[in-house]
Subunit: 339 residues, 2 copies
Amino acid sequence: MSGIASLADLRERLANLPDGDEGAAAAIAERQSRLTKPQGSLGRLEELVAWLGRWQGRETPSLDEVSVLVFAGNHGVVARGVSAYPASVTAQMVANFERGGAAINQICKSVGAKLRVIPLKLDAPTGDFTEKQAMSEAEFIEAVAAGCDAVPASADLLCLGEMGIGNTTAAAAVAAALFGGGGAHWAGRGTGVDDHGLARKQAVIDKALARHAAVLADPLSAAAALGGRELAAILGAALAARRRRVPVVLDGFVSTVAAAPLMKLRAGALDHVLAGHVSAEAGHRILLGELGLKPLLDLDMRLGEASGAAVAVLVLRAALACHTGMATFAGAGVSDKPS
Amino acid sequence: MSGIASLADLRERLANLPDGDEGAAAAIAERQSRLTKPQGSLGRLEELVAWLGRWQGRETPSLDEVSVLVFAGNHGVVARGVSAYPASVTAQMVANFERGGAAINQICKSVGAKLRVIPLKLDAPTGDFTEKQAMSEAEFIEAVAAGCDAVPASADLLCLGEMGIGNTTAAAAVAAALFGGGGAHWAGRGTGVDDHGLARKQAVIDKALARHAAVLADPLSAAAALGGRELAAILGAALAARRRRVPVVLDGFVSTVAAAPLMKLRAGALDHVLAGHVSAEAGHRILLGELGLKPLLDLDMRLGEASGAAVAVLVLRAALACHTGMATFAGAGVSDKPS
């Protein structure tokens, strides 16, 4: 178990983060320079292998055990008309995940990843943050700990995603608290609200930012006041993965917002994290820029469920296959000398 | 066999192209609207499935047989110092492909694709186009026909790529002839020339454009005068695939230039073609813009060998897995009604 029982425990964990294995990364780069291709010509595929090796602490990274965690939560703010779907869809989709009928089930099969779905008190939505805290400190910490505990004891790679009707509103509010800008800057259409719905989202976010202004300077307090259980769990899982040096692929806007407080509290806290894609949800590209994360894919996806992160795993597999399987110039008798 | 024995045969083939199956594409879009996800939320994954179905003429597309063709050629213009590698590397890399040691071998294994490498008279490089035609009309047509004939009798998808020391110079010259702009606009660093090498490439291209100006108005004549056998073969393969309604994924700058004369001669001739990625080679992004092709991936790759196209197949597989495997709203008991 995580042993995280308070904000102080969480801050203490964050103060003690392992660095990556630069020796492994350097050995990987050296091997890349001997493979039968012009230097650097595999582009990001080369960077990805070095990143895997740096965090796995291995000169030959592995992707044998790829774990996809999808956290689900419900949101009191849905009562404000911020989503195109009713809150009951969260539990319906969790059931759909469990029966294997959702997009993420198919992508996990396609990519050879193990999916685990973790519903977090779906029958007890967070508070409507236009009126009160979304979560108390205790509720927030409980969700963070659930995320920590969900990280498998052994994993080569962890993909983090979410499901929660209303959670793009919560995420936009947290993003605004962390990085400035109001509802108009961060709100997007989520599952597909119309112009009126979008205006409501923006107003709801602005109202919440005003109401909770006194506590928003602290990133963790902002995450408790405005976020959701699934966001808190993603934060916990990203932190636990870092402490075990498991590389993490984040999914879209909500997942990235969820992990962002770690970076706000400590520079470099997300060095073990790859942005699997940039979502079509309006705020994601802005947020990735704020965090200095360069997304791997840009496929106009906006589904959540870790779907973008899981598609990115395919690229990681191709990158690793090249690294481990290619011949060297010397081995293949190919000239590596400029003419 | 292709039966293409002259430029007139080639033009006749190009005048008789089948359209896509819009009924299949519409049926796919209709199914997408019933799957358990917000409308359009899988973004380009949804478009990709419709594209596959449109050209395969099937409501349920297949990716059982994915064929990757890599054409290789040598270039007389290498004598002008336009490449970082000697011309002998083309044959060395063909041998490396055949032994399974190159990047494309690993990616094909990773993606479940069948690789075929077709060397085209490597011991008889094209003419140095600063002094003469790269190919006579007969040589050009022979290479086009080789490309046509290489397309397998049955394939669900065809990826087209190339290998040829010096061919980014040839490709840049062809691009300049087709779309205007000189050497400075189209030349990139290829396998990695330094600033002096890049300046040489630009000057070589400008010299060739001046020398062959009289014939460059016709796209096929430009491809013969400035191109290469592997480019001509890609043109032939892309045309043959269209005539059999096999969807095609193009690789990088050279492959895209190779197919571009088809579009210059007939609007819509590349509707069955997907740009698998945008390469780091300087001219590729410009060229894709000229052709109205939106690349699927942007991974800073610049290797050729069909490597970017083959990585894109992974995304196609994920897209198809979602389409065929997901539950519908009705089947899964998930609410598809706005709240």
